[in-house]
């Protein structure tokens, strides 16, 4: 097999100017699945911040269930409209420590509703850190052409945060 199955579509790295979001736009429909890998930290004055995942700038018709561990206990949550997962490393967490985010979106360009998977973890040299598993559904049949990671309000991703979007082909 000569062609590349797992191909980088684009990457974003935050420079000295912090950013409100990490966006991938004009995503081609030529792959089977998408994989987004991100390493992120933000400027909120707290240990951690919740992160939001959006497709095509939509803020409705999302639904999800998550399983969360914080180093002390486990919990499970569900939600609608926006997809939110806890635990992005923020200002008060251990210096130079970034969260890791894995998002898999099968059949992103198809004409069915879009299911997706999020695995997000953070570390901290303290009692509290987060591990998240999340199953999500965007009840929309449009092809996904834009994927965004956002925080809340004026909170921004800081320098050295990065994200890479890969396209994965089937045979």
């Amino acid at each position: 097999m000569s062609y590349t199955t797992y191909k980088k579509i684009a990457s974003v790295t935050v420079g000295v100017t912090s950013q409100l979001s990490l966006d991938f736009t004009n995503i081609p429909a030529t792959y089977t699945d998408l994989l987004l890998l991100a390493s992120t930290r933000d400027d909120r004055g707290a240990d951690f911040t919740a992160m939001t995942l959006q497709f095509n700038d939509a803020t409705t018709n999302f639904s999800w269930r998550s399983l969360i561990g914080n180093g002390t206990s486990a919990a499970s949550y569900n939600g609608t409209n926006t997809t939110i997962f806890d635990g992005n490393n923020a200002t008060n967490s251990t210096t130079s420590t970034f969260s890791s985010v894995y998002i898999y979106i099968p059949n992103y360009a198809g004409s069915t509703n879009k299911s997706f998977y999020v695995d997000a973890v953070s570390e901290n040299n303290a009692t509290l850190a987060w591990t998240n598993l999340l199953a999500g559904l965007w009840s929309n049949t449009a092809a996904i052409t834009k994927v965004s990671l956002l925080l809340s309000g004026t909170i921004k991703f800081v320098q050295h945060s990065s994200a890479t979007l890969y396209g994965i082909r089937k045979s």
Binding site: M1, S2, T4, T5, Y6, T32, D33, S63, W64, R65, S66, L67, I68, A74, A75, S76, Y77, N78, Y104, P106, N107, G110, T112, N113, K114, S115, F116, Y117, D119, L133, L134, A135, G136, L137, I168, R169, K170, S171
Partner: protein, 163 residues
């Protein structure tokens, strides 16, 4: 750069719903396998059950950790005739990513890790064991609880090579 993530096969359900799908004649020249599924159970919420090499003996066991939206849960089952590798909601798209390590060796039992993503019922990790030393040459996924796998469901199998 050598290709380490290669497509082996793909299945899309066409025409009418099916109870199971099978990848057969899987080559042995990879290190690991990854199976990516986008599934729509058409009647009831359904466990997706996996078997290898058409083995229906009581040679499988499973452990899982999941969250149903309000409570974390864990369970396991031994001496099963298949491995539950996902639990997906009825009439809802869900996805499953299964990694099968060292699938082609002929000297050890085979383990697999599944990330099961049913947004209306459960997000979960499953670990499955097949107590056989045989190389895996076929994989079958079967829907349960009276549900079939609906049209447009897709399954992609990839081979991962060690460097």
């Amino acid at each position: 750069m050598p290709a380490t993530y290669e497509p082996i096969g793909a299945i899309k359900v066409l025409g009418s719903a099916v109870s199971n799908i099978t990848f057969s004649s899987i080559p042995t020249n990879y290190t690991d396998l990854i199976l990516v599924c986008n599934i729509y159970p058409n009647t009831n919420s359904s466990n997706m059950r996996m078997t290898y090499n058409s083995d229906s003996g009581s040679n499988y066991s499973v452990t899982y950790l999941g969250g149903n939206g309000s409570t974390p849960e864990s369970g396991r089952a031994s001496n099963q005739t298949s491995m539950d590798m996902a639990y997906l909601g009825s009439n809802t798209w869900g996805n499953v990513i299964i990694q099968i390590q060292n699938y082609s060796n002929a000297t050890t039992s085979k383990t697999a890790i599944s990330r099961s993503n049913g947004s209306s019922v459960l997000t979960a990790l499953y670990v499955g064991l097949w107590r056989s030393n045989a190389a895996i040459n076929s994989i079958t996924l079967t829907s349960s609880q009276g549900s079939n796998i609906a049209v447009d469901s897709t399954f992609s199998l990839y081979g991962i090579k060690a460097a």
